[in-house]
Point group: C2
Chain length 351, copies 2
């Protein structure tokens, strides 16, 4: 493991004791990014470029060792030259010891277990998009349960990791009910090409981030079938309605659905061949089974999210036609073309 210089870590920890900002006089924070997938790797890189002391936790000791040795992540974005100050480790407790915040970038299915291995930390920022169960438990709710003393926040927005790694411009939303923490975390993350906006609507931001992956599966199927931009746009418009319904049910606010973390993330995720959920939809439309998609190692969060959303809709009576059709295709062998047709053929209504 590459270690952050011990002296600096100690200094950051000491300053923490006297400064409520959790950073030393120069504004240097000590931060752990948990999860070295594409998004976690890029976030660690952004934070380190801003001069913060960054530990990157990798599930695999081999990946941690490779990052320490080569400053590249062999598993994700292997061409990205990582800031050499990033300290990679395969030890969660070591990564999170004495930090100002942990940024959670693990797959949502691993969220609860990873949170359970953390020492007490002052703040947890979730960068993972999905739900933890059929009651649509949000990632920050898991974080708050695991660390009741911590500030919790969610980071979301149209953030295809590969583009950010290439230095292309992007914007994100940091949602937190603690405004001073949100402003501080914004300074950690903001780069000339990465703008961070602050929101107080954690539930709305997380609901959108989870739901858009389900719509992206449907958009991938539609695009894989070659149905065109008009149909794609109509599907996204209906998808936005579904984000709004679930987001409202979870207590989110209207303006969130129509902002970066809502429609913005929806557009980027559904447009891009870089989105794993969209890719998974394309592959399913072309005849691959879900088993094959999963076996190829792709983490398409929408495949798990749709199970929870489908169960939630059944329990609450919420009308979520896209989620229903995606569920039927993915888990009940419905033909994608039939599912898309059934979506399009719903009775006309007043708009």
């Amino acid at each position: 493991m590459r270690q952050a210089p011990r002296g600096n870590v100690a200094e950051a920890a000491r300053t923490d004791a006297v400064s409520p900002t959790g950073a030393d006089a120069a504004g240097v924070a000590t931060l752990a990014v948990l999860g070295a997938g594409a998004w976690g790797t890029v976030l660690a890189h952004l934070l380190a470029q801003n001069g913060h002391l960054v530990r990157l936790w990798c599930r695999s000791t081999d990946v941690a060792a490779a990052i320490g040795r080569t400053h590249r992540n062999p598993a994700y974005l292997p061409d990205l030259d990582l800031a050499p100050s990033i300290a990679a480790t395969a030890d969660v407790a070591e990564a999170a010891h004495g930090v100002d915040a942990v940024i959670m970038a693990v797959p949502t299915r691993a969220m609860r277990e990873t949170l359970g291995r953390l020492p007490p930390v002052p703040a947890v920022v979730s960068a993972s998009k999905g739900f933890a169960g059929d009651a649509l438990t949000r990632m920050t709710e898991l974080a708050a349960a695991a660390q009741p003393w911590a500030v919790v926040a969610a980071l979301s927005g149209p953030n295809l990791a590969g583009e950010i790694a290439e230095g292309l411009p992007a914007a994100a939303t940091l949602a937190c009910s603690d405004a001073p923490f949100a402003r501080r975390a914004r300074t950690w993350l903001t780069r000339p090409t990465f703008r961070v906006y602050v929101s107080s609507d954690v539930a709305g931001v997380e609901a959108c981030g989870a739901l858009k992956n389900v719509v992206a599966l449907a958009a991938g199927m539609l695009d894989g079938l070659g149905l065109g931009e008009n149909a794609h746009a109509a599907l996204l418009t209906r998808g936005l309605t579904e984000l709004v319904r679930v987001g409202r049910a979870l207590g989110g606010e209207e303006r969130t659905f129509y902002g970066l973390a809502g429609v913005g993330d929806l557009i980027a995720t559904c447009a891009s061949t870089r989105s794993r959920n969209h890719q998974a939809g394309v592959r399913i439309a072309r005849g691959d089974s879900v088993g094959e998609v999963l076996a190829s190692g792709v983490t398409a969060e929408g495949l798990a999210t749709v199970v929870h959303v489908h169960a939630y809709a059944a329990a609450t009576g919420l009308d979520l036609p896209i989620s229903r059709e995606v569920y039927r295709v993915v888990y009940e062998h419905k033909r994608p073309l039939k599912a898309i047709r059934d979506l399009m053929a719903r009775p006309p209504r007043e708009e």
Copy 2:
């Protein structure tokens, strides 16, 4: 000119006198589509496929003659085999005589003059997207001024004409304050692959249809510069805010902005290489002057719309940063990259 069978026209006209639906017992309507660009041509084709008596007015006598002879439009979508019953003519008065409705698909700059040449008609449906002046006069307002006795309506939505010509599925919104007419016109247009929804918010639908072309110019510039999907999605999110601001100022309703005619049309127009406004933006980003774009015969409505919107913002104080930057690039020689950077660099705000 190919004539619609005279007997049927007479029958339709006669039935009109006794039936408030404006169609004969079999539901056959007599309709004029004015403007034989891509959209007008496809609309005429859809209506004729539904068995209606369709006259298609072409500005050019040569195009009218060619359509009559070959059932193809040599100028737009030349591969589309048009329904042979379409009667093409270069005479506006002849096209509009005794019809149940005219569908206006002329460039917005030609709208006022074309409306001025119409005989009295019972209904005018605008399928053109733009404003008539710096007060943002809408196309249906021009129609109502020209034909005070007529029902007026607007057709909008994510409707790239080329895709509809290929039979790919699409959905549209027909906006009209006269609900019975809207339902009737919906039956004229609806096809198995073309779904029509009804709205009462004419102002909102028209505002969105006009504004999205300006955002598409900006999106084309951004895409022409290769700035990626994240930035594209962030731009569209801000563009939606601009649709909402202008739409509200013109009396439109919130739900319209987030429906097919709002965010739906915005996504399709901004995504597609088939959109002339997006194409124009790409060309401008790559160094073509506006003069060159216009000289190539491209009708990119956004190039005119942005002039009116810019003047309107100056007069009303409305904050429309995308429209302002597009105006500066197109008419004040600002560099596209500088304009996009200035847009991205606006101070962070609470989302």
